[in-house]
Symmetry: C2
Subunit: 400 residues, 2 copies
């Protein structure tokens, strides 16, 4: 744009160049008339939906309950997740194939893309928005990139698969090691990463979460019948056991689907956890980390997600019961609503203040929008095999 304007300003418009100006002006008009350049677009109510089969992202608008564009060419998006820049303009997409892609949600296009590993499993963005970290299965370890350029600024090898990577305040990242049962805290605020290693988390941590205040890190363990927590506010955080033997004395059901721990949520005074291999969700006091109750559910929960105010918990289930959603009331811990949105309900995302929820119904090829007060369906939006839904409000939160 700038060269064109300079040319017009500096030249006397004779008949000869008038045509050139005209042609350029019309070209500029054409540019202006695209939605990206012309429309004054606020980004606070936008979002991206992962379309795993086609390697694309659907750009959506919460207020209009509509899709407003599609970004293609993102490679293997099975198990993909993403984080947002602080201005809610750019998304960093972590593909299963090791691809790290920076997407401009305003221009609806890919800005940069690097293949940073052979097999990756999620990432996080630092509190200052300068760094994005990726957790890798192959070759293992964590790699940290500049959010502007996607150049690698730190490589943290671990010798094994890393899981449960989250950001915490102070330009720090926390993650766990599958093979050694350690949790590492990487402080990236200085020139070189400072690593603190915490052993004794337990056998084979497979996923983890951090609370919204960045204080409590909880790891799920594949090799033990309990979970492990860390209080990151302590000078030297020590592993604490949660829910020891929670499945003891009961025949373990086959694990159709590993529950996702990023779905764990604070609801009222409790954390709500999907029980691994059981048809129930578990309630744990957020302070004492003691069990406070169990709610029997329709199937093996995959995500147990609290509405942002914590008053309701929405649960979806593993195959073959993944056509169903149950809603639990936090005060009574009872199921207050049960419905079947359609085949393959893979993910849920609440509007930031919780009045609506969006569901990915993969095998129906639809996103469905519901009112969380009346449970009324408000809208269906076409999407190609939708999975994860990510609203831009995540930019303002720790640990997502």
């Amino acid at each position: 744009m700038k060269p064109v304007l300079r040319f017009i300003k500096n030249s006397a418009p004779t008949e000869g160049i008038r045509c050139q100006i005209l042609a350029m002006a019309i070209a500029v008009l054409a540019t202006c008339s695209t939605p990206q350049a012309l429309r004054a677009q606020a980004t606070g109510d936008l979002g991206l939906v992962v379309e795993r089969a086609s390697g694309s992202l659907l750009v959506v608008d919460q207020s209009d309950r509509a899709s407003i564009g599609r970004i293609t060419g993102l490679g293997d998006l099975s198990h993909a997740s993403l984080v947002y820049s602080p201005d809610e303009r750019f998304a960093y997409v972590f593909g299963r194939d090791g691809g790290l892609t920076k997407v401009d949600i305003l221009a609806q296009k890919i800005v940069r893309r690097v293949m940073q590993a052979g097999n990756s499993i999620g990432g996080a963005i630092s509190d200052d928005g300068r760094l994005v970290a990726v957790s890798n299965y192959e070759p293992g370890g964590v790699r940290v990139f500049d959010t502007d350029t996607l150049e690698m600024v730190a490589d943290i090898p671990t010798g094994c698969k890393t899981i449960g990577l989250v950001d915490v305040p102070g330009t720090k990242f926390v993650f766990s090691l599958w093979d050694t049962g350690e949790t590492w805290i990487a402080d990236l605020s200085g020139d070189a990463p400072q690593i603190t290693k915490i052993p004794g988390m337990g056998a084979n941590p497979y996923d983890a979460l951090v609370t919204g205040d960045g204080r409590t890190y909880i790891a799920g363990l594949f090799g033990e019948d309990h979970l492990t927590a860390l209080d990151l506010w302590q000078e030297h955080p020590k592993p604490q056991t949660i829910l020891p033997g929670y499945a003891k004395g009961r025949e373990g059901l086959p694990v159709y689907k590993m529950p996702h721990l990023e779905g764990w949520a604070l609801a009222g005074h409790d954390f709500v956890l999907p029980a691994m291999g059981q048809h129930e969700v578990l309630w744990v006091d957020a302070r004492t980390l003691k069990e406070t109750g169990r709610t029997a559910t329709h199937g093996q929960p995959v995500f147990a997600m609290a509405r942002p105010d914590g008053r309701q918990v929405w649960v979806n289930f593993a195959h073959p019961l993944n056509d169903t959603i149950q809603v639990i009331d936090t005060v009574t811990k009872k199921i207050i609503h049960h419905f079947e949105p359609g085949p393959g309900v893979l993910h849920m995302e609440f509007t930031p203040r919780g009045h609506e929820v969006w569901l990915s119904v993969r095998d129906a090829g639809k996103i469905m929008v519901y009112d969380t007060g009346t449970f009324e369906k408000l809208r269906e939006i076409e999407a190609e095999s939708p999975s994860g839904i990510f609203f831009t409000a995540r930019a303002h939160k720790t640990g997502l």
Copy 2:
């Protein structure tokens, strides 16, 4: 824009109209080159700073630590506050003079302005973004407006001054009555407001807050030596006394400045409250509502605000000690930093994930930006008598 494009498409460009097209195209170019129309501006990291003396708003960018524009003509902005639309594009500004002004932060201009009362004291926006409510001293009561048009959709007279107006989930607003000591819950989800009245809150509630989950409403009382809480998740919420006789046995200091309760914050397991008429902040267990500690401070606290992760509490003070900030560590409840940014520190706003804080230093005519980890000053920004600072991330939160 659209008529111009249509004209070009439908006409054969003969020499005669070519000049018209050229002129129009250049006019369009000029339009395109204004920052509003051309620049792809994400809104997630923007904010507004109230310039009370000049009745203007400074538009600021958190990532650039810079002011990027000014919006004028907002009338009396002493004690002004504002809320944001869910897309983080529009702000609704509540002026002390009863003015309600809708501002477009992308176009940097006033969209609509109505004088809705003689004297107003804050407002709130519903969870669905459809309604904005204003709390009035004169003529009293609460008035509710459509956020698109600013047309009044509900008038809720109370016969007296109303204070402590907040939004809670379910398209509801909660507020208290100075004269009668009642709290009212107004449900605006249907055609007509449904009002629930809760008497017995105590004498002369002067301000109130609701927790981020919309569950606990706490009113400060001018006529009593305690505070009163409501659990809004109960079917019939009952007033509970907090901190009875907290100033008993001690000579009350003159109240230079009423503490602002919207500054109350959840830090770790506790609420942190500025003590009225005392040189201290009070810590109250967020579950039991019992006092857990007191921290002696430099002066009478005005705002005691938790960093978003709750690990620090930043406190400013009433005149004549309002050149100072103290920072308290939540774990030890001890002051860990004391500094004097300059004369008239009126307000603080944290970046959404808490790595930086912006301070209004009114009598220095500056906003100052600090790193909350190192306490280093990162930037000074010129402003005309700045007071309240409001970042767009507030759009995604309940009760702010």
